[in-house]
Subunit: 355 residues, 2 copies
């Protein structure tokens, strides 16, 4: 088992535990001081794992389950409100626990419920996707608004993150692609050798032990950044590499046809262009194409609309767009990019990518 | 001017400033680094003071105003959602400021919007009621749920609290009564001489300088408690004196006919009964009656329903009701009270109060 502590100075510290089959040993890692437990999962995940989890926890009283619709559309004000209603109907109190069993959507939504129900109760993340290795660490929780992704949210750290790497096997290819969006990002923020390694991965034949290793490296990077800068005043901004365009694409497509990580890969390719890192950009473009990333959606997008979404990005200040760029692999920086420049670059990007 | 710093260890520190006519000098006390400012006030308060505030701030660009309906009913999920929409339509960014101009309702609602918009932006409280001297300090922000008061919320501290004591003059008597609910509570948590003083106050002829003094003492007490225990793990619970029943009454009456502070006074009388403090109970009962507190509502309430609401109180744990009681004036403690005992005491209380 890999065990890693995330230490948020002055706030909290929590363990991230990563092991094959961890879901069957949950009872050992979830404190028995919680007065009741509500497990939230989407329908797909619930079908696969809800029984395992409730079985393991069945010796405890007061276990509630809530199944929500899959898909980013559920990360809405409407479902936030419904889940709060459900918490109340289960009489959850301040000593209760919410378990977010699922991908990033479930973690963000259930985490935001936990952050605000009774002004904050405990939650534990049990990520079931590769993508969620990223979102489950760091305490960012949120719901979407029609005007943009994650516009409403909070910082609320989990009591624990328990990652069962066995679950990676059952992921559909689209989910693996999505997960590797954040893995590619972490590699580009870390070091070239890891990026080189990933450019060798064929997601169709992804080996579990390799994925687990990428995931552990990703969590380690994420934890070290969050420890330095919980509230994104400095280095945490780097984690937005590729996300400014990704969020704009997701908003424009109404969180529909493209997954988050797929959009992130497209966003990273664009950020590499903006950074003038042609070699890495070209390698990533080829890798993304080989692995079935939906690059063709770029052709359908209107660059002016994308720009409007970018200006609403949480990182925007006084209407100016702050972009995370790279000097080299492992050397990110933040730079204001002018609207005209972005518009020009987006046009060029469309032409190049859909060739 | 009274200036008082609230120091939340490891989190933040902010000034509470109290002075006659302070609203006309706001420009000096609000940093000019905010990229835009959204002022939220209810219709009554906006009619009285919105012009003063916008006039003072008019040299700055990007000032937005949002007027909301008066009354506790506005502290709802619906208005929370609407205000978030408004923040987005004003393009508020992470450097923007929300000003909560008003009583506790406005502070709680606007504060919760500030706490969760873009995962948290700055806000400043400009309380316009006596009651809000309490709620504006301490960082508790929330909205109501039909199942209970303040069930959804966060801890989010303001950048500043700016209290213009001139505003006290324009308060209707009902508002003064409401404000003195929290003042009575603060006195009972502090010392007997202050409680004695308040028992001499006639709210109909409340003198501004006396009210200002009560208010400053209240803020000082509140600040010192919040500094010791931001998240209500210990001593902050004492501030709930009278609130368990008060919240139940408000929920049962659907936040309608009785104001918060009026309900708190009724709740405190009941807590004094439970504490066996007959003398103080009787003095407070007479004082409340003389000052027009709506004690008669107690007769209309069903004690079983009140009990159900109390069990949903945020302080309840595993269905047990935790009650703040007094050993003596200035010596609060928390005790589990059994349901049967509460039910019996509520019945008796009804009989005694409506005599």
């Amino acid at each position: 088992m890999e065990r890693l502590q995330v230490n948020i100075p002055g706030t909290t510290a929590y363990d991230v535990m990563i092991a094959d089959g961890l879901r069957r040993e949950l009872n050992e890692y979830i404190a028995d001081s919680y007065s009741s437990i509500l497990i939230i999962a989407d329908r797909h995940v619930a079908d696969l794992y809800m029984d395992d989890i409730t079985n393991v926890l069945k010796t405890r009283g007061n276990i509630f389950c809530k199944v929500i619709p899959p898909g980013e559309g559920t990360k809405s004000m409407e479902w936030y409100d419904r889940l709060l209603d459900y918490c109340i109907s289960c009489n959850l109190d301040r000593k209760s626990l919410i378990i977010a069993l699922g991908g990033g959507m479930t973690g963000d939504l259930a985490g935001f419920v936990a952050a605000t129900y009774l002004r904050g109760i405990s939650y534990i993340q049990i990520p079931t996707s590769i993508l969620a290795h990223d979102s489950s660490v760091g305490g960012k929780v949120a719901i979407n608004h029609k005007a943009g992704k994650n516009l409403i949210g909070a910082f609320h750290h989990p009591d624990k993150v328990l990652f069962d790497t066995e679950m990676i096997d059952s992921l559909p290819l689209k989910e693996k692609r999505s997960g590797y969006g954040e893995v590619v990002k972490h590699a580009l923020l870390s070091d070239k050798s890891w990026f080189d390694e990933i450019m060798e991965r064929e997601l169709k034949e992804l080996e579990n032990h390799k994925a687990a290793r990428d995931l552990i490296r990703g969590v380690r990077l994420k934890a070290s950044i969050v420890e330095q800068d919980e509230k994104e005043a400095g280095v945490r901004k780097y984690l937005n590499l590729g996300h400014t365009l990704a969020h704009a694409i997701e908003t424009e497509l109404d969180y529909g046809s493209v997954t988050h990580g797929e959009a992130v890969v497209i966003g990273i390719i664009f950020a590499l262009s903006l950074s003038g890192m042609e070699e890495e950009r070209n390698r990533l473009l080829v890798w993304a194409d080989n692995n079935g990333y939906p690059l063709e959606v770029v052709g359908e997008l209107d660059e002016r609309k994308l720009l409007e979404h970018m200006k609403r990005d949480k990182k925007a200040e006084r209407g100016k767009i702050n972009y995370v760029l790279l000097q080299a692999v492992g050397s990110p920086y933040v730079s204001h990019v002018e609207e005209d420049e972005l518009l020009h670059a987006l046009k060029q990007f469309k032409n190049e990518v859909i060739e």
